[in-house]
Every structure is written in structure tokens, then in C-alpha cells.
Symmetry: C2
Subunit: 196 residues, 2 copies
DNA sequence: CGCGACGTTGATTTGCCTCAACGATTGTGG
DNA sequence: CCACAATCGTTGAGGCAAATCAACGTCGCG
């Protein structure tokens, strides 16, 4: 029951690995502990890793011209995160990736990822499926943003990230669903009155 | 200069094919002409094809509980479109795909796509890159929806789909950027006053 | 202890929606 | 080929959801 357990189970949901292949895979990983508020990637830098969260939580977000954060994604334990644009193109991106609490992660560098593809080709399939699932989730979020009210988007958020609803500062959730912290607070107190 | 020209050039932007491989590829395609307003996919059906637009234009959209359309994507010539969720999972999806004008398309069935992977493995790479690019574009759109005003989103639309700005009914554009047709009309006349 | 980050609440404003009425265009069946 | 319907775009009046601005209480942490 090693600390690789979570990430190996994550992979096993999509592809089956032999013990040898598991060893090759974990050999490419770099373990890293991250302090609260520490950056893993800053706007304007080139993203050189995919990051898998073991425990804690990260967020990926941009900052607009007025200084407001807009959260693209959270990464609680068992999730992957990266600036996909920057990682694919190996060019500077606009995303910040940062811990919302003290965390422990594994990082797979772009270089190691390509070595991994050569040594264990079925990882091509793994990351392809990951990308496909992510695309589907993002399409759903666009449709939600177009068709749902803030309350409904919050309800969806609670379903999608049940573990985060109470673990995260409210302003982070507000930013994710696309409202101001003030409005989010009012909305929440309104919800508590009707359904305790 | 055959009618396969456009789709072969589209593929060539990402992978290089030998004449033999080109022949295999086009052998898997089904040509189809589509009348204006004709459906290529209806909500609740399983999506069994990727569709490439040669000329004309398609749209992918959902209908909400109040009967309003929300457009997830347009597919002008040289673009691919499908209900990714339904295509990947081979389960019923919520997307409608429909022509916004008389169109000509090529369709690659999921079955043929898998045969193609076997016979020309580099197509794995092609569709992976397509998915990656699509993911990046969708992430950008989410961030735009979170941080930009309707006017700014319209400006982005004009940059992204210059050929569609004048070819498409205004209500379709309004639906894509997430405002009502009435508001879109007012916004547009406001813009025309300041910048003729 | 005191300072910053967070959450709450209220007053006011605004971006966008709703509803309704009205031309202009398109297209379609008789 | 025309009449009529359907679709589309425009405009105006009024309404609502959410933003903005500001004040204040609370907590955790250095």
C-alpha cells in the first residue's frame, strides 16, 4: 500500500498495466509537496508537466485586466491538472496553477511523458481518454453557463465536486461558477432559508 | 483537384500521408449532401459519425427546458463536428447537429474510424491532436464567458469565425455568445454608431 | 495583540432579459 | 405569379438578476 496507490488506481480505470509497466511509470514521476498558496505554474511561463494530485487541492485560473480571478478548474485528490494550451504547444500560457491548501502531487514532465509513450505505448491511450473526458466535461460546462442560472450552476458544482463544497473558500466557488463573492453569499443564505 | 482536396489538406496539416494511405482514408469516407435545416443528429440519439464540412455550415446545439437553443459550436467548411460525449461513449447524447444552410459533408463512422486506426495508425495521432486543439478552444471559451462582456465576446466571435459573421442569421450568433436576439440587435446598432 | 483575508449585509446601479408591437424578407403552396 | 405565412430583425417599455460600492463582524495567523 504505497503512496503510488492512488495514481496507479487512477490509471487502472482506463488501461491495465503489468507490474513491470507500473514500475516504469512510477519511475518517471516526480513527487512534490506544495505549500498553501504556492504556485506550480505562473501566467506567461511554459507548462512543462502534467500534475496529479494525491492529497490537498490545486486550482487553475486566469487573472483579468481588472485583477479578478476566473477559475477554470479545481484539482482535488485523484485529478490531473495542467495548462493544456501551454503543455501541448510548449509556448507561454495564460494559466496560473496554485495550491488552495497544502498538497502532495506527482508530476510527469512532458519529456518523461514522451519517453513513457515509447516504453509503454498504451499510455497514448490513457492520455487520449483523459483528454477526451476533459473535452466532454468542458463542453458540458459551456452549455451549463449558457443555459443555467447561478443557482443551478451551484447545484451542479455541488454534485461534481462534493468534497470541495465545504473545503474551499466561498470566493473560489463563486469564481468558478461565475458570480461575485457578495452575490454568492446572498444566494447561499437564500438557499439555506428554503432548504435547511 | 478532386472533392477530397479540402479534407486531405485538413489532414495534411497534422500528419503526412502517402498516396496509398490517402486512398485508404478516402475509402472510409461517406459523402453526404445536407439540405438547409436538415438534422445530422438529434438529441437522444447515439452519435455514430465524425462529420467534416466541405461547404455550407452546420451547428451543434442543445435545447433547454424553455425551448431555447444554445449553440455549442459552428462547423463552417474545413471543420469537424460531432457530439463528442455520445461519440466516445456510444450512448445517447443531448446534442443536435443541423445544417444552417445547404451543405456538403464527409462522414467517417466510428466503425470505420477504428478500422482506419488499424490500417493507418498515424490517424490515432491526427484525432488526438484534433481533440487536444478542441479542448484548448473550449477552455478559452469558458474563460471568455467568465471574464468578458457580451460586446467583447462578440468581438472574439468575429475574429474566430470571420466568414460566418455575415453569413449566419444574427439569432444564431446571439445564441452562441449567450445573449437574446433582441439584446444582440441593440448591441449591434450601438456598435455601428460608434464605429461605422 | 493586530493585521489581512474572508464572509455578510444593505443601498444603488447596470447589463441583459421579457414581452409586445411592427416592418422587411423569404419561401411556399395554390 | 401572387397571397399569405413564417422567419427574421428592429425598437421600446419595463423588470429582474447580478454587479458595484461600502460598511462592518469574524476569524486565523504572524
Amino acid at each position: 500500500m504505497s503512496h503510488f496507490d492512488l495514481i496507479l488506481k487512477n490509471v487502472a480505470r482506463i488501461i491495465h498495466l503489468s507490474p513491470d509497466e507500473e514500475r516504469v511509470f512510477v519511475g518517471f514521476l516526480e513527487e512534490k509537496s506544495v505549500k498553501n498558496r504556492q504556485f506550480l505554474l505562473e501566467e506567461g511561463k511554459v507548462c512543462r508537466h502534467s500534475t496529479f494530485v494525491c492529497h490537498g487541492c490545486l486550482k487553475g485560473y486566469t487573472v483579468d485586466k481588472n485583477g479578478f480571478e476566473h477559475i477554470l478548474s479545481f484539482a482535488p485528490p485523484d485529478w490531473w491538472i495542467a495548462d493544456m494550451f501551454s503543455l501541448f504547444a510548449q509556448r507561454p500560457g495564460q494559466l496560473n496553477i496554485r495550491a488552495t491548501e497544502a498538497s502532495m502531487v506527482f508530476q510527469l514532465s512532458k519529456t518523461n511523458q514522451e519517453l513513457l509513450y515509447q516504453q509503454v505505448p498504451k499510455f497514448e491511450r490513457f492520455f487520449r481518454v483523459l483528454t477526451e473526458n476533459s473535452l466532454v466535461a468542458h463542453q458540458q460546462r459551456i452549455l451549463d453557463n449558457l443555459s443555467l442560472t447561478a443557482e443551478e450552476r451551484y447545484a451542479h458544482f455541488c454534485q461534481k465536486y462534493p468534497s470541495l463544497v465545504h473545503a474551499l473558500p466561498q470566493k473560489e466557488i463563486a469564481s468558478y461558477i461565475g458570480v461575485t463573492p457578495e452575490f454568492f453569499s446572498k444566494m447561499r443564505s437564500r438557499l439555506l432559508k428554503t432548504s435547511p
